[in-house]
Symmetry: C2
Subunit: 246 residues, 2 copies
Amino acid sequence: MLHWDNHDVATSSEPRAAGTPEKASCHACRFKPECLPAELDGEPLNAFERNVLRQSRPVKAGQVLVRQGEEMHALYALRVGALKAVITTADGTERVIGFRFPGAIIGLAEPEQTQWARTFVALEDAWLCRIPMDAVTEHLRRQLVKLMSHQLRQEYNYHLNLAFKSTAEKVGAFLLELSDTWHRRQLAAQRFTLPMHYTDMASYLGMRHESVCRTLGSLEQQGLVTREGRRIHIPDLQALRAFCAG
Amino acid sequence: MLHWDNHDVATSSEPRAAGTPEKASCHACRFKPECLPAELDGEPLNAFERNVLRQSRPVKAGQVLVRQGEEMHALYALRVGALKAVITTADGTERVIGFRFPGAIIGLAEPEQTQWARTFVALEDAWLCRIPMDAVTEHLRRQLVKLMSHQLRQEYNYHLNLAFKSTAEKVGAFLLELSDTWHRRQLAAQRFTLPMHYTDMASYLGMRHESVCRTLGSLEQQGLVTREGRRIHIPDLQALRAFCAG
DNA sequence: CGCTCCCTTGACGACTTTCAATGATCGTGG
DNA sequence: CCACGATCATTGAAAGTCGTCAAGGGAGCG
């Protein structure tokens, strides 16, 4: 189904040549509906797709896609790369409350016509499709409802993770979550590169980066994962799942 | 706007006479659109409202409204009372992941036509309106999108609370959250009765009930709250907000 | 009246954060 | 191409917090 090679696309961040925009843009992918969420895939949206595809836009690693408080004029579909969603609290500190990977729609939590509730920052060179609000047709809106309900359930899952798991289980569950994301993208589920720094991961999980590091080390000692720098290998998904379940 | 007396409706759980169904059902309210979320209020939904109001239904304290895994045939609008949303994990333990108060729509996280992702249990005698899926018109669907995006942002807020706050701040933020909910219902924001047990509250916040108890005691010592049993008084909302901010 | 469920309090132990310092890696500029 | 600086990862030791276990008290219900 995917026309991409079945290698870890995220590793494009390893050489981190940041290359030319051409490299990150992945022109070959720009017109492949597989980059869109499954729910937005298929015939019914062809008219809409044309609209979307015409307005794709690159964002370089570290750049801000949209900033919390800015007026919202469009949704974005993430094609290539990874984003983090951060909230700036009253005292100015930044808290990571989510990550987004290819296939995600950015802006579901924001009600139409108002402001962005969060800031989205590219973790690696990314490529996004702008979906102007005018293009949000009735049919698309219905698809978005499904996406939102999916995301709501996912948030409930995060709630479970944050509230009821130990740090080791949280980190493990986070890895499995990434693994699932990769798997849905038809990429290797057991071997991938963390697109975010330990600090971001720690912020997201409500931990300190030192604890993330120690915990990963502990998981490694138990043989549940292997690390080479930011590169993760999960030899036995079932074993890790069992560990994170309790 | 509200025709109810401006007293704390939730205190109806204090005598906990559990009374007759008549008492909890609050027949006088059954046909007041104020019980519905503001977004569902107003003229455009009159046809729909009739449908809803015809099928309102009482649920007694402790009873299960819908159970995780059951097939989903309707949404519910909560009119009177309070619910908790619990997830039963693989090992059979129950985890509270949310509370719902009058005005809430139950079932937003569940995609249409499938199963309930969570179990909803009444914390006190409640009264709900059943909204069959057929009654979910295009117009209503559009309103639901707003409700869902609101709820998503709320979940992000919970995420922030769980990940970045100390236990004291979590408990305080929880009280403020309830206070806001009461305020939106035009009820006293500074004096209300906790509709849930410490155990449920602790489960929701990822704590133990002993810690909730101790933390509330600590907040009381600092003069931020006052307790008489389950009844809470917040003398200075700003002070508590400042405390919970950091 | 007694049972049950819930709230409360204390002491102990495990775990995570905090603070501090070193090592590794990447990007930049000479 | 190498050197430097900055950022990120790693590790240790100390301190604080919260969970666990245990026991007692109180309110509601049958």
